[in-house]
Symmetry: C2
Subunit: 496 residues, 2 copies
Amino acid sequence: MSGEQELGITESKEYNTGEWYAEVVQKAKLADYAPMGGFIVTRPRGYELWERLQDHLDGWFKETGVTNAYFPLFIPESYLEQEKDIVEGFDPEVAWVTHGGHEELEERLAVRPTSESIITPYISDWVRSHRDLPMRLNQWASVVRWEATETKPFFRTKEFLWQEGHTAHATDEGAWDEVMTRLDQYAQLYEDVLAIPVLRGCKPDHDKFPGADTTTSVEALMPDGKSVQGGTSHHLGQSFAKAYDVTFTDEDEDEQTAYTTSWGLSWRALGALIMTHSDDQGLVLPPALAPEQVVIVPIYNDENKDEVLQYGSEIAAELQEAGVRVHLDDRDERNPGFKFNEWELNGVPVRFEIGGYEVEDEEVTVVHRPDGEEVVEDRADIAEAVDEHLDAVFDKLYAAAEENLVENVRAVEDVNEILGTIGQHGGYVKTPWCGDEACEEAVKEKVHAEIVLVPMDDEDVPEAQLEDGEALELESNECTMCGEPAEEVAYFAKTY
Amino acid sequence: MSGEQELGITESKEYNTGEWYAEVVQKAKLADYAPMGGFIVTRPRGYELWERLQDHLDGWFKETGVTNAYFPLFIPESYLEQEKDIVEGFDPEVAWVTHGGHEELEERLAVRPTSESIITPYISDWVRSHRDLPMRLNQWASVVRWEATETKPFFRTKEFLWQEGHTAHATDEGAWDEVMTRLDQYAQLYEDVLAIPVLRGCKPDHDKFPGADTTTSVEALMPDGKSVQGGTSHHLGQSFAKAYDVTFTDEDEDEQTAYTTSWGLSWRALGALIMTHSDDQGLVLPPALAPEQVVIVPIYNDENKDEVLQYGSEIAAELQEAGVRVHLDDRDERNPGFKFNEWELNGVPVRFEIGGYEVEDEEVTVVHRPDGEEVVEDRADIAEAVDEHLDAVFDKLYAAAEENLVENVRAVEDVNEILGTIGQHGGYVKTPWCGDEACEEAVKEKVHAEIVLVPMDDEDVPEAQLEDGEALELESNECTMCGEPAEEVAYFAKTY
Ligand SMILES: [Zn+2]
Ligand SMILES: [Zn+2]
């Protein structure tokens, strides 16, 4: 089977995670590197994942009152600077447009790093009365942040695709509901579509979005023990509304200041997806996002070729009719082994193998991508059976990711143990914390772990979603780092 | 009815077309002007039109083998310059990024004005064998062209949204099929979705896309007599393939150079839509794009209010069930007259009026937006009847636009008459032409009209699509401008 060596994954997920990730992204044709460091080219198979993710999230947004809009790619420097009223020492790492054609611009334009500073003034214009609220705007766009880091497709790129929602509300409560609605939708996307369980929580005060009252996030634990911030939803309180004069007349004709939120999820979700489920054979995809959900590989010789291909195309037609994304790989120039490997590399959740025996016995051999489990199904029931197999693949992916998460949340009440646990196992370490950034710093400088979340309130500990959450209760009421009274429970982890 | 004055359109489409257009765009909440000249903010009602347009076109693309991808927003200057091999004196009017954060970049980056120069090198990388062809990539993206013109939302903006398709083929014929497939899909979009008949043709050689063998376009005639280039599809021959080394091994293992195409359609289509159908009452939308297809306005007094609203909400539920986008305007603080005006301004194709009489007689008064035609329908048949009314509105819009087009294609064989006809009527003037740019210039400098298209071949005159095309035959075989033998038939028009 020549060509196989070149086609397959050569790096090990366990021992060379970074190189393995880069190899999967490229060999599964999801993305390539652009000529400029920090940029990537998203190939059709990668972009299709993004489109399907968008379909889910955009549908939920629209069902819950969000309207899409499009704001300019560029933001005048003076608009960005207006945020200085809110954010002390604001110093944007942005790409600057200084010339249009041959002319130098009078005012530099920032390529949008995020759009609060251009969207909020328009919300201010458009909102007059309480009847205009809530106003919920979202845009799907690309943003640029000029950070000098190593390129990691979907995880770390100077330009990335995302959605950014911006809303205004008459009340603080309305804004809070909004923040939580979007956070829940992000969690739903990870859990129900990407098959990745997440923890929900708040960021520590010193790590909030600049100007925000509260930043909430969903966090996903990768198999290498690092946490990915999977999406953020910010309660901006009235700070942006005051800076940009977002006011409205209430029912009594009195002028009030609105409350605003913003929330965003980027293609980093695709990075988390690839990193979580894929293996040393290549990409592994949950059925909801897979370009092909089922691939049919016919196994034939000169004598039974027509018969086998006919059998395969009838099955393909029946599945397609039933709404399944199916592909019959009838290439004559490749043998079945090559095809098995290639479709495993491409992450197709379910493979049908059909050969002389299957045709004769009116059966189909069904193989699950994640674990290679083989089941023989009757041909007659195949359209029904396939849904069960797709669900079974989803369940296997979710269960493996959940096991990784559950096993890697640890309660620790000793600084050295924090360092040791994170150094040895990665994952989340929860510990009592006084709330002081210096106490985070003490851990950070030794193991490069930071506080990725704090529970939203006492009754809402993140791992309450996990079955054995009770085992993780903390006993001490003192900050593990400094011994002062603990205000919060901090979840430390290494991050992407 | 206070507030109506402020709400309604004050400019005249016939006498102040430019001001009227700007007023419709803003008052129907489609777009606002951005702080920087040349940029706009696309509001939810405008963006929804774009989303529906995308849904149609993207669906047709995918049915015909196109895959979406995403290439970087920025293109290194050296990549753009590589086009100089193809295009003499290439001098891009682009926005230049010169700084990232506080650092000056080593190489300037152009904000993409179009993506041939970044996409073609990747196609070159990805195409190895004839089995990789045709390769069809498309991206939905924003592009920036730094042209110093007055801002006209959707028609003239420095940043605009579009799709750009880029394909490679093994044969010249394959590339031509591609060019025509996309041109036909553009025509289908205009004619079947936007209710705007278009002419199809080629651009004169001197007005082709730089480096193209042939540029084809669809052209739509606006009510003010100017032509809009509605979408372009370029046969790039082998020039880009040679410059960027897009080669493949054919079935005999010989190396061959591919043929490439590119094709694009921008939000200018929305400009044409607004300009074509709207009137002095505001926006007029064809049903396929309208955010609301039907608005129900209840007319009630204190005594029958509950009854009328109940009647209205039952109808709304029934229509929604039938897949119609319907809105019941039950606002208590507005009277029916205000609502009529507002929904007319917003372009809702069909209005249902329901009051005491309608409830009593189990009827619905149906009003068509374009001409105010009123029809009374039985309540029982309303779900079926509504489709006919939506179709009727579409037909009225198309018929009016077609009439404008048919009446404004004129055959002229005298230079002064060309000038006079265009000056007086606008529209298209067809005339024999030698093919020399100087002869276009002779007309252009006097009436600012240019050659917007030439027929693709003798049997494919654009207005063959129009019923009375025969009446427009030309008699002379000499160029109207210079008297040399005529090579082509030129269609002159003023343009947007
Ligand atoms: Zn402390
Ligand atoms: Zn001439």
